[in-house]
Symmetry: C2
Subunit: 398 residues, 2 copies
């Protein structure tokens, strides 16, 4: 019983903090409407947060002329109440951001790595180094951080922090959250990197204020995140949104997952590189830094007019467009964002993508969901990782 009541109290705290973080500022009565909590509960929770210094009062905004009687008081987060870090682990790069309690970016830094098929302990050390670099740039001590959010490619259970498979570690399940918490000496929250890209787009990017949105990410793999009813949706088992492994061409191109015809097998970095390797020597596909450099070169040649490269990207765009149409037919989201390093090739794949999208979306749905390609930086994803800490932690005992 005490545990249950405590959990309700924590959940109420999170609801109030999230509402303030998304809206910027709100009066208590608006907080009650937005969170669905009773006015009495909102008064109690906000009194506690004010007392602890996480929230501060400010003069109300808005319709001054129309208002009579007591001046309206808004509440907002106190930006300096806490600081958190966000980390994005890619195969060739580790990016770190530091944000304040309001989710505002204080600084970002990155280090180059070769992070494929490494023991988790080695990756934890790399993250430790990257975090230390970021802290030094901010002249901050590690003790000033409340926690670290970490985005990882692969099948990562965001609820438990366990990685079931990741190109970073190779085969095997690891309790990454526990391992990283020990190495960094800070509470760590781990999630699939596409989920964090989705949180970043929902909080800070194109999806701000949307209730239902999808984000598809193109990097070394093809990922996806879903916001449903304003919250990140992870599926019943913590691992969902494996859009990259939905099949568009059964029996088609071979995927790294061992199956055939997955979207990823046409669109991911390794798939593009494999196609190009048919007619000329390219980078070692297991050297992530070399892959990164080779793809930049391939895209430049495609944009300069190489017809073989243009045809490869046109086919990838067609497959992507059909896959996105399937998502729109199923979800009918308010917005669909395509992001990730691979979106830098948009000039090469976008025309075929738009054509396939229009040809395969139901006519009743075709104009309702805008599809936007955005070239988000790794820093934006790391910013999403920091946001994860802000939503997962209730900051202080309740």
């Amino acid at each position: 019983m005490p545990t249950d009541l405590n959990q309700i109290a924590l959940s109420n705290r999170r609801k109030v903090l999230d509402a303030l973080r998304i809206s910027g500022r709100m009066a208590r009565v608006e907080l009650a409407e937005t969170t669905g909590l009773s006015p009495a509960t909102v008064t109690a929770v906000t009194a506690e947060l004010l007392n602890e210094g996480f929230v501060e009062a400010c003069a109300g905004e808005g319709d001054g002329a129309a208002r009579r009687g007591r001046p309206k008081v808004d509440l907002r987060l106190r930006p300096d109440a806490a600081r958190v870090a966000g980390v994005k682990i890619s195969l060739h790069r580790i990016s770190v951001t530091i944000t304040n309690f309001a989710g505002e970016l204080l600084g970002a830094s990155e280090i180059s790595v070769r992070a494929n098929h490494q023991p988790p302990e080695r990756i934890a050390q790399m993250v430790d180094e990257a975090l230390e670099t970021a802290l030094r740039a901010q002249e901050m001590s590690r003790n000033a951080l409340h926690g670290v959010g970490i985005g990882l490619p692969g099948f990562v259970d965001g609820e438990t922090g366990v990685s079931h498979w990741s190109p970073v570690f190779g085969e095997g399940a690891y309790d990454v959250a526990a391992l990283f918490s020990k190495q960094l000496q800070l509470p760590c929250f781990v999630d699939n990197d596409a989920n964090l890209a989705t949180v970043a787009e929902h909080w800070f990017g194109r999806g701000k204020g949307r209730g239902d949105m999808l984000a598809v990410t193109i990097e070394h793999g093809v990922g996806m995140g879903m916001v449903i009813g304003g919250r990140l949706y992870r599926g019943a088992h913590g691992i969902g949104a494996e859009f990259g492994h939905t099949k568009i061409r059964p029996g088609g191109a071979l995927c790294r997952c061992g199956q055939r015809g997955c979207i990823e097998a046409y669109l991911a970095d390794y798939a593009i590189l494999r196609e190009v390797s048919t007619f000329r020597r390219t980078a070692d596909p297991f050297d992530p830094l070399a892959v990164h450099a080779a793809l930049a070169e391939i895209q430049a040649e495609g944009m300069a007019g190489d017809p073989r490269i243009r045809a490869i990207y046109a086919r990838a765009g067609e497959i992507l467009g059909i896959g996105l149409a399937n998502l729109i037919n199923i979800f009918g989201p308010e917005l669909l964002v395509v992001s990730g390093a691979g979106s830098s090739a948009a000039p090469l794949f976008e025309p075929a993508m738009r054509e396939a999208l229009a040809a395969n979306t139901l006519s009743a749905a075709v104009d309702r969901t805008p599809v936007e390609i955005t070239q988000s930086s790794d820093a934006l994803w790391a910013h999403g990782a920091a946001a994860l800490v802000l939503t997962r932690s209730a900051f202080g005992s309740a």
Copy 2:
């Protein structure tokens, strides 16, 4: 302001009623935990519901020996507090159920119709007749009903009650909820029929107590409904879950929607009939009663061993299995149910479906989501339509 507060009060009433309907009975403290409402709010809302006669108190269940002090009091819905009707409109049949306030089935009846491409006014008259038949069988007057839930195939916006396209009406958008409310002289709620099948499975069928489940329906079309976080999810625009029009074979079989390669174009009644018509004369595809009879015959011949029919269903099963694998990869649901009249052909399509499902689901997800084929009756769907009324209406002013 009064409107907003009133909406919060209505929403709190619905939360309490839904929790009692799903659980059967609950103490106030459990209601607070389940709904997330404060104990004070639960006390206020249940006092009102007790006073109005929608809820009644009963002796608490459970750990008598371990309990000390005041005996525990549970609350439950008063089954006789209200009655509602549910209607499923198929092209060849209209099914009606009457349920009490607890969602318990009191009676079901059906009439045969030819309901394709009819003016909405004509359909409303047919539903009126079917409802009258059901009421007579129960010796009930129409005044005893609080409302009617109606399931309709096609692109139906469950929020607004507008049908944007339905095989029942043909082309054109109609405010079906308003039209039916006028004809039946009762509040009517209209939704996509697959959504109501999903509600039925979630409340009364295989999905009872599941937080995340999907239901795929095979009838004259292929539909889908999603329960996410315990609630029916309709997408941002009210029309979602068009699984039947996701593409598995781009450029493949022609679909009634005008596009190619949709799942429906391999699996729906019309698709099976079209294949069979290649080698022999079958029913007029625009006569729904004849289609219904012809399909029963075709399935019987397939089960008796006709290799051409078996091959048609095996291909349909393969396409279905790939489509279901895509859904599992994206959603990772707790349960996936396949239902609808078309599931009577399961002995013909299930082996190929299971094989394709196993071959195309991610290995990390393959054993997590049970896929169950159920031969639900039209009455179960109509039961779901009645449940819709129970969830949509707050019963009495708040």
